[in-house]
Amino acid sequence: MNARPAAVRAAKRKAPDEDNRGGRQRPPAVAIVHTCPGRTRLRIPALVDCDSREGLEQVLVAIAGVRQVTVKPRTRSVLAMHDRAIPAEQFREQAALALLGLLPGSAERPARKRPRSGPAIADETWHEPEIETLVERFATSAQHGLTSAEVHVQLGRVGPNRLEERPPPSTFQYLARQVTTAPVALLAGSAVISVATGGLADAIGIGAAIAINAAIGAMTEQQSEKTIRMLSRRQNDQVRVVRDGHAKTIGGVELVPGDLLLLSPGDLILADARLLTCNALSIDESALTGESLPVEKSVAFPCDADTPLADRLNMVFSGTTVTGGSGTALVVATAYATEVGRIQLAADSAAAPETPMQTQLNELGGQLTTASLVACGAVLGLGLLRGGPVMELLKTAISLGVAAVPEGLPAVATTTLAIGVRNMREQDLLIRNINAVETLGSVETVCLDKTGTLTENRMAPIALQVGMQSLRVMDDRLVDSLGHPIDSDRPEVLALLRMITLCNDSTVLSVTPRSFDGAATENALLELALIGGLQIDAERAAHPRVDASYRSESRPWMYTVHQSANRGRLVVVKGSPAEVLSMCNRIQSAGRRELLTAELREEILAENEAWGADALRVLGVACDRCHDDEPVQMQDLTWLGLVAVADPLRQGMRELISGLHDAGVATVMITGDQMGTAAAIGRQLQLNRGAPLRVLDSRDLTKLDPTLLDALVRETDVFARVSPANKLQIVRALQHSGQVVAMTGDGVNDGPALKAADVGIAMGQARNEVARSVADVVVKENDLESVIAALAQGRATYANVRKALHYLISTNLSEIEVMVGASLFGLQVPLTPIQLLWMNLVTDALPALALALEPAEPGIMQQPPRRHDEPIVTGARLKQMLRESGFMTAGTLGSLMYGQLRYGDAASTRGMTLNTLVAAQLFQALSCRRDAGLLRTGLTGDSNRMLLSAVGGTAALQVLAMSVPPLRRMLQVGPLGLIDLLASWLFALGPMLINDYWKGRLAAEAATEPHEKKDVGD
């Protein structure tokens, strides 16, 4: 059970098959079908062609630590028993190597097994021949691409460019899956024994129970898997190609070999293609090769047939992304002919993947099954010792087994996760990877990429200084330092606004809502002019530009020259305040120009510096008038003022950060900004939560000792001056230091980090496809706050699985205990097989599934996250379950003894017992809703209608069964008086109250104890 975190990461970071695809000899494809410690089932497609089963078994048994191997060529599977210490993955690799040469290698699979859509030319090498050969080969043109007619023909020949998912199982298959399980086999055995002993009614009852359970199981499983399958479906990806001589955008499925692909940054490549031209093209091939750094491509790179995949620099591959540069490429393979298509064929795993939680639950289910079978044996053995009838005892034991085996466990996990996905979708959170739902619940650190995530990734005007007065932009108005709106018609303000409009290359696209076309800073200046009410078009028309000179490395300012109607020429300068100011000798203040004294200069520069320290970008503006024929001279200018712009923080970011901190989640901001800017924003966001703000300023983290970085990342609130490639390092370092990391981002360069993070969160309208394609969760634009909702949902989902589990295990334990306890104490057999089955039917699956719908408990985001390495059932929880089942058992046995005293009659006594046990389980379902007990917390907040109906309905059924004579006969219970009915319920209510009170007390103790939560603060 403790293998969970490793399993999470392994599932998350699994690199695709890393066999050396370039080599001649390669091992056959081997996939793990199922594994538990000591036992692994492999699937080896190549086994189909094998004729020496024993030979292969001998080879595989020779692997160190392997005890027994069964090879089944017909099902293409290998089952191995091995030392528990050997991980399945290691066994898989060794098996693949051992079979090298004995079975056909993965690439040499016969063509007949490739689906019909695969092109016939699939096994050729595309990186080796001359480009011209390929162009000829596909009858295309390196300039004009294919013609529509050719595309049509090709499409008919090779089929659409799509990796088809295996069709989902039919309803019948789901049903079949439900009835081909061990518990059902047990039940069937029980039915056979019933028929043999003349209990036809029993057999019918058992049959009904099987049918109903199977129907419920199949229905929920089908629903859930549908939701989960939806996640992996690609949405209509678009590509740019040249066809008929024109560039056009088409859907990825329409690509055919011979198409001319246009590549630009952020593109997802959807087919394998040979490069024709490229310009500093770099590709992230991590999806294919596991290499996390982008690969620089080269058209002329010579390759031969043996060049490994990762070194084929003249090729681009489907499933990879363009991180920089541009290029054109000739599509050579689509769909299953692509490298990624081959891998998918080899992996052959279209089934919904099992999440770590499901794996854990399966294991747990196995252990519980063993435990209940032992209990059955005990009941049988004890009964036989007491000389009971063999057949009856056998039937009882089998029925107990059926009732006690928690067959609902994996279904509970699937259902709960699916519900989590659906709930998140309602909150506009798109889950792309089912594992993310449970991982979200254990996120301990969130890395926030500043630009485009915390900020709006644009520039907005913040402040200006005119005539030595500082003004700020607030609520779309200019206000003075006291917050009073000022008149923007004041001449010195107007002068500044006019000049920043003229010396500006941006254009206004629309006024409401404001939208501009141009550089971010200049857009912000135009926005300021609009806020000041300036008529931009009129202003520009009145002063046509006649000349301009732009800023350069050595000259941090630009100027434009404009024709004035009657007063010669107007020169406008804007740029670095210090530089521009040094060229001025006068200053424009209210209505006139004054001499720029040394004191004024100092004051201006001080304001410039103060704003700079506040993370603002500051520009100085000056102007000059000259005659038409005069040359432009950059001296004796008139200073107009300072303008400060900044990338504004999104609304609600501070609340987001404090929400995360409240939830015990540490935050880390990553930015390329200078430290001053980064620290100012970190402080604004209160990333330091009252402690000293810790900023790590480094241009190149790769120079740092990795172990040192691991230690430092935990102590850092803000990473400043970080290059994009370092984001991945930060995420990895946090993970090494034991944190479960979520990362937000929206850019191309965030891709690797998003992927490496345990949960990658992309912004909905991410600037490019890459961020979204590798993210596990996509949140709506401008709604990063929903990250909190996602974390809450993740936590609630996990909590619900645990609650359902708690319910299932504690009630099943009580059933076992009642049966074993009665035998031990020499009481009558408490419940007959049909009664056990009835109980299994009404109290097992439905309340557990309903618990999965439980809304998040209030306060769930005021607690620290669960430890990611904590098993879903801890020792403490197991103890609690045993205690609770013990009280339920005590109540039930009490009821049994009461019945025996009162009726002496076995049937009515069993009625009492059954009634008590069913009621106790229903009460337990209610109590499981709150971890701290219902009595202590009460039931405030959302109600769970599903659970209430499940409990209410079950209770009604039970009352009905107890009061309608035919049903009573079928259930083999005798009639009960009203008083006894009430008494039987009291025997159930008592344990529930004790249990609930006890739970509340434990929770209270835990709350007052000093939290053992790790110190994420200082």
């Binding site: 000293p692 900023v695 480094s698």
Partner: protein, 386 residues
Amino acid sequence: MADNYIFVSESVTEGHPDKLCDQVSDALVDEYLRHDHAARADVECAIANGVVFIGAHYHSDAEVDVAAAARRVIAAAGYEEGEFNAADCTILTSLNKVSYQPRLPELPEAPDDEWLDQYVAQHQATVFGYACRQTPELMPVPIQLAHRLARRLDEVRRSADLPYLQPDAKTQVAVEFADRQPVRIDTVAVVASADAEQVASREAMTGDLIDAVIRPAFSNGGIGLDDDTRFLINYDGLIRAGGPAMHSGLTGRKNAVDCYGEFARHSGSALSGKDAMRIDRIGAYAARYAAKNVVAAGLADECEVQLSYSIGLARPVSVQVVTFGTGQVSPGKIRKRLLRYFDFRPAGILHNFGLRSFQPLAVYGQVGRTDLDLPWERTDKAEVLQ
């Protein structure tokens, strides 16, 4: 005490990691002051494994780009390329904005007692000041010589006369004393880091250092080298790189270098990284000021002044004077005169010294400097003390 003995003091260059930390700390105090005249700041710095750690407690609204300022210091100390360099070393900062300390006061023209008493010592400190007649600046000779050597090393490295020299170096001078007066230089030791690839041989480097550094450093005035003076240069014969890539540094580790080279007592608390309201820093300056004026006034040939402060009191709880038997008048009398003519209250010292810039102090010693116009090196009170 024997009549003849040898005393050894050491100094380090500006590229020594400990001194680098001192300079970063003081540069940041200056940086806060530059943005905000009344800023208070305590800045600690440590360098290890190529990572610079800076912890600052400051009382100011100014947002200082701490990392940029630190990089400027590191670059100025000569680390512009190589394994550890100003451009891409990693800087981890912990910035704590506090508001519990009073900010630096505006200095009135003529402060009255009420104003002066208002600013009490916020730290307990026992600080020492010392002066003697061994050099014109009234300092012990060994430390002054060690500083001269360190300074000369930096000059030579900067002028690129010896292109292989790297910023990190340590100097040590052993001076023979007779009757508590320096008579000759016994040993000169230098450990200088160098780029091994550019050094022709160990012998060449030793020769270079003796000719270009040591001899010029001791040529102007005072006791000089003699034929028996020993030179220990890179003691183990290895030519090695130095600096933060090789060993760690910490603010306040070089107290003796900052003061009297262990010839006289110095306080345990560091000087660098503290602002002008920290009595454990400015108290040491005030004590040196007092001691120097006592010697300058001819009241003694050697004088140590000790000041002890308690938290919450403006005046020192203890003022002691020791003259080592060289006094023309009794220490008790000197003490009385000091109390009459010197104001040892924090605000008094601040008003008298008007401290605004600390970074230049952080290398080559904080007392006995003649290259800087330091108020505590003035002898303007000598006359009234006589």
